[in-house]
Amino acid sequence: MSVFDPSIESPIAHAIVAPDGSLSFADPALVALNQRAGGMRGAPLAVPQLATIARLARRLGIVVSRGVVVADDETDVDLWVRAQPDGENVRLTVSGWREIAAWRPARPSPDTQDDFHGSDTDWRWETDSALRLTFVTLDAGPKHGFDAFALLGQPLTAMFSLDAGADGALPILDSLARRRPMTAQPARLRSSGRAVTLTANVRHDAAGDFAGFVGAARMVLEDAPAPAASTETLSPTFTSGLDKALRVPLARIVANADSINAQADGPVQGDYADYAADIASAGRHLLELVDDLVDLQAVERPDFTLVPEPIDLADVARRAAGLLSVRAANAGVTITRPALDVRVPALGDFRRVLQVLVNLVGNAVRYSPRGAQVIVTVTRTQTHAVVVVADKGKGVAPEDQVRIFEKFERVDPSEAGGNGLGLYIARRLARAMQGDLTVESAPGEGARFVLTLPTDPARH
């Protein structure tokens, strides 16, 4: 479910801005954002930052990409906007959608997170997108026995030979595949054979593509014990390889199968259209599995942590319910979400909390009979913010209530869909945010999944 990982594929919304500055087409997320900013159908785009970028792209006649922070109701949302002139119109592509608390300074862009001036760093290095060294701290050369000048322009591997981690994987591959910081890549300095540890941030270009590493190297004391390997974890190479190898082909299979099913290119015999729907659905299932395996690898790393930030749990719950409203409508299930004026401050990682709630509400919808209700409520205790997702499905027997949080276990193994990783990951995420995820249920009486998170003391 890494759709909520900003560096991979955050939700992307599209819109077309007409020459008069109005939205002639927009995905629901942008329609909603525009309406909340006071915009109306046919009136000029009301979100000033978006309007400015669209106008600039139209006037310059070239693509303009920029990160902006947009006020949305009481919160600010971090967006990445790409405006491409297209004849008289401008096509907007908006990704990111990361909520930030209004009082916090905007997150520095990855490109400005350049400094690794940490005292435990022996020298710094940078590469371009082809992993060629574009910068090396010069005075490190004489100290550690290499010629920094000669290394400039050479591949990163001319400076270091990369070793596998304790789990047999190369962290750099994971970092490249997932476009996220590289931590603790063991390596050896080619000139001396001495062990170093490499860390790096990923630099993105204006289009959000990988533009290189901004890294640091730290000499390792030779007799330092190797970090204990966890036999339980999946190798990052395995998951990143899986991710790379499967995601694109699967997405293509799903898209093609969908368009066959929709008979977009002309009429198709009914049976075949149905087969195509099956193919698309199986493809989606596999895609979810890939997402979950990638997440699994992340949550099982010993150093996995999340940085809690103030969030409004009621808002996250409403968003999760909103995201699943189409699926619920298809299944004939209604989702009752917290009222719009309810606010429950909590501490958590916005995307991860959303991910957990989407999983819970998605499960509830899946196991609810047609015509039933899924009720999402949010409350606050003295120390915790609590969200309850209740369904009227067949429930979970007491003996199964521990099992369903295990890896590859399912509420109902006979039921189609799901891969047995969602709840396991959800609980790991909840606990990584100092919260928890539990279930209360009796067979035949539906289930109540309870997510607790610490409250934000600042907002009491």
Binding site: L56, I62, D111, S129, A130, F149, L152, G153, D209, A211
Partner: protein, 365 residues
Amino acid sequence: MSVGPDPVRDVVSPYDPVARAEDARLRADARLTGTIADFFLDADARLDDRTRLMLAQVLGAIVGAIEWDIRRHAARLLAGGGATQAGEAMLKAGAGGVLDRLTRAGLLRDEELMDELIARVRHDLIAASLPVEVAEPDEASLLVRLAGVPDSVVASAASALLAAESRRRVANEQGSVGGSELPAELHHRLVWWVAAAVRDGLKSVTRESDRAITDAAQRSLAAHDEGERPDAVATRLAGALDARPNELPAVLVESIGDRRLSLFVAVLAHAIGIAFDQARAITLDPEGDRLWLALRAIDLDRPTIARIGLALSEADPRRDIEAFADALDAIVSVGVEDARASLAPLALNRDFRMALRALARTDRR
């Protein structure tokens, strides 16, 4: 630079309340004059804090590096000649005070020196803020690619630029410089000023100490290699590349996307036949009018000019992207020949240009 302390203060006894009061009054006067000048300073002329900080750092580092070069070498010469005490005095007397001394004397207000340093600082700050643009995924960045081409002249110049820019970056980040990286004339001037200030700080000046300082200064001058400056290396690379008119748009856009502003400037300078410092000045100018003319003079099309303008605006908060967008159609409508003609004054001999500038300035007085 702040208003320096009054030299009178150095000889005033710290225990003389009357003299101290008078001293305070003088300082308050000087401070007020400075504050008034600061208040009425045109906003366009004012340095932003980042530039000001880095300028102070660079100036301090350059002067400091030359000062220590001179002191160390002079001390070694004196000590080597048996005058150990004089050598130690050379290291200690007024150590680190050269920058203040030169500021107080007003020497550092030298227009050419400050022009060069301000342009250099702005250039480096803008280059570091340019948005990265990856031309082709998995393809090495422009300069790295050039460093690997079979043409050894291009390849060695590109490697040299990679090295020179790394050196500059380390210097900027650590606030220390290896060399002044100034044009030879300015370096020459600065070395003798520093030498004079070092001598000025000595309690007793002897023939030996003068000779030692002179030798040390001359050694610093001899060691200065103008050709190692990033500007000079970039100019060399641009000359080796000698981009054809049909290659220019790609080279210019890619050098901006690779955040190699010095290469952009050098290629532009080479294409329109002007000096690097001229091309740098028009590239850094926030109004940009001369830059747009220069880009028209090499017949760049609308999207290319727009791309360059947008990237520079993202990197330089002084620029007005809206005004640029307003003017873009008018810029593109300028004919190549007209643009070339209007840039002709830039291509004049440097000394001739300076003389004309000096003349124009005296006219205004």
